[in-house]
């Protein structure tokens, strides 16, 4: 819980958003970020990269966010890796539904690149509270 958050794997099918997030997290947040464009790629990259946290888009073609999370939990070394969903689905019940899947938090799109790093750090610190 007290480990400092350094590395983040971002899984997102939209290249523009991947780029904006990468810049925001690296340039403003100071994190080391790896990105990939699908759930399948994300599973492979996660085992290789072993990130402190995974930022996972919900709606993606092929393996969507929830399925990717489910598969991640089957990999022993990634079973405990904290995951934060990012979604443009902003209805309350949708957000609660994603939160209930085992993610430590849900960030909605659009987001403010100036503050997203702070929000991720806040969720990272709070992850043990639940």
């Amino acid at each position: 819980v007290t480990t400092k958050l350094k590395t983040i794997l971002h899984i997102e099918d939209e290249p523009d958003i991947r780029e904006v997030v990468r810049l925001a997290l690296e340039e403003i947040g100071g994190f080391k970020v790896e990105s990939c464009e699908s759930g399948e790629d994300g599973l492979a990259k996660a085992q290789e990269f072993q990130p402190d946290l995974i930022l996972l888009d919900v709606m993606m073609p092929g393996m969507d966010g929830p399925t990717t999370l489910h598969e991640l939990r089957k990999i022993p070394e990634l079973a405990e890796t904290p995951v934060i969903f990012m979604t443009a689905k902003v209805q309350t019940h949708e957000i609660e539904q994603y939160a209930g899947m085992g993610a430590i938090g849900v960030l909605t799109k659009p987001f403010d690149p100036a503050s997203i790093s702070k929000e991720i750090r806040a969720l990272w610190r709070r992850r043990g509270d639940d």
Partner: protein, 639 residues
Amino acid sequence: MSLVSRTAIAAAVVAAVVLAIAGGTTYVAVRQSVAGTASDLEVRDIAARLLPIALSLEIGVVLLSIVAAQRVARPLLDMATYTDHIRNLDSVGDPPDEPTKLMGEVGALADALEAMLQRMREAADDERSRINAILASLDEGLVTMRADGVVESANRAAARMFGCDEAEMVGRKFRVVTADRRRARADGTVAGLLDTGEANMVGKSRKLVGRRKDGTEVPIEMSITETSVQGRNLITGVLRDLSERRHAEKALRNAQAETKKLALVASRTQNIVIIMDAAGRVEWINDAVTRITGYALEEAIGKSPGEILHGPDSDRTEIARIDAAVEAGEGFRTEISGHSKSGSRYWVEIDGQPVRDKSGRLLNFIGVGADITARKETEAELRKARDRAEEASRAKSEFLSTVSHELRTPLTSISGALGLIRAGVAGDLAPKLKSMLDIAANNCERLMQIINDILDVQKIEAGKMDYRMKRVNLAALVRESIEANRTYGRNNGVALVLGEVEENSTIVGDSDRLMQVMANLISNAVKFSPAKGEVEISVTREPPFFRITVTDHGTGIPEEFRGRIFQKFWQADSSDSRKQGGTGLGLAITKALVEHHNGRISFESEVGRGTRFHVDLPIEAGATERQTRADAAGRSALS
């Protein structure tokens, strides 16, 4: 003189004669014996002397005989007197002493007689009590009368018929009035009936109308017989009160009429009526069953419900349930489909109930129901329509959700990129560039607000808006909303001012939705305020509500538009949409959100002076937190 007295005197006379004969014989014998030894004179002399003695002796013997005879005859005399009294049971006067104190054989005989009599008395008493009890218990009235119609005795039932007690009837004339009123005028007494042309009613039974003590009449059936008791003629009348029978007959007639009506109803009603025997076999069906199923009565008789309700779509499980209920003697209620003999499908609703006798024995099942084919078809149509509507709603919801997602995705990239540049990731910005980036960012935000509003409208209309109802302090909520919108106000040159605040203003509501309400009202007020204007927000207590008031000093709402400002896509001036920004959805959404809190929204406006919006939220004492979704009220608010 009694026989006993005469016997005693006769015995005495016989004794005297016997003694006289004995004396004469003795005298002759003496005279013969003396004749040989004495002269006649001497004999006469002796005889003369002996004669008084003999006479005295004879008289004495006679008296003794009389006394003795009377002593012997007295007990017999007492016995005779006593038995005479017993024989004449109806004689008057005190009975003689019982001859039980006599001694000897006669005394013993008297004792035996007395014991026998006692037993006879007791037996007679028992018999009398038994007969009285029987007479009293009879439902039929029993009256004995003299030939002139005077009542000598009456039992309880008879007295009851005439509304009096038994004693009141005795000694009075038994008045009856014949059922035939014309005859009644002739004579009203039994004697009259007997003595006149009605005499032949003896031995027959006929209906009369009796007159009760209170003057009312009672229908009676009366049988009269004549009997002779101890030489006297008595008329015995057996009476039956026909009131109850007539009531019963009337009830029976009514019941028959009722049954006839019910039978008519059962036969002709459009509803289904089926009567089954205890084994669940059809005994009778009405015309409606024939019309629906195609089975005539004679075809249906003996069939089970399952045999009539057949067809490829019939619910076999339901039929088995009905058969099981019938077999168990239990009621059932069902809605089931069947196919008529001609193959057309029908739906019936049947309520089957067992009919039992008083001992609980199952007699029949009666099934009553209705042809619900039309209703079922309508329901099926409605279901299809509802399914289609739900499908359309789902599609619409999905479409909007997808559109929202698809619009947000590029907006995320645009606003993210703008945000990065404005945050200096790409280096320092020249003032003009920063200004243009601000415009781009603001319009990005505006576009996002439009998307959010459209999504909210869709959620409210679909009843899918989520609410998390918790305890909310309105004073704190209003302060927070002022802070959240202060920058927006400042950017538009309008100051947000907190007015009167009721601190004790906790309600149960969704704080996020209420913040949305405040944001809408404050942004509207700011938009329509003049530069350097002021918007005042207050919270007051106005039972049964807390009232939030947002006051601006802007242009006001023209009279002709005031009835439409809560409608969707409407602004006072269509050009305002662009001039003032916004989608025209804000107030419609606001109204729906307020009404979901059981609140109300209203406004006062004066053109050129400003507008005051009031949001009234109910003071809910002891209200509990809850989670709800928008209901029909929410939808109607947007319609």
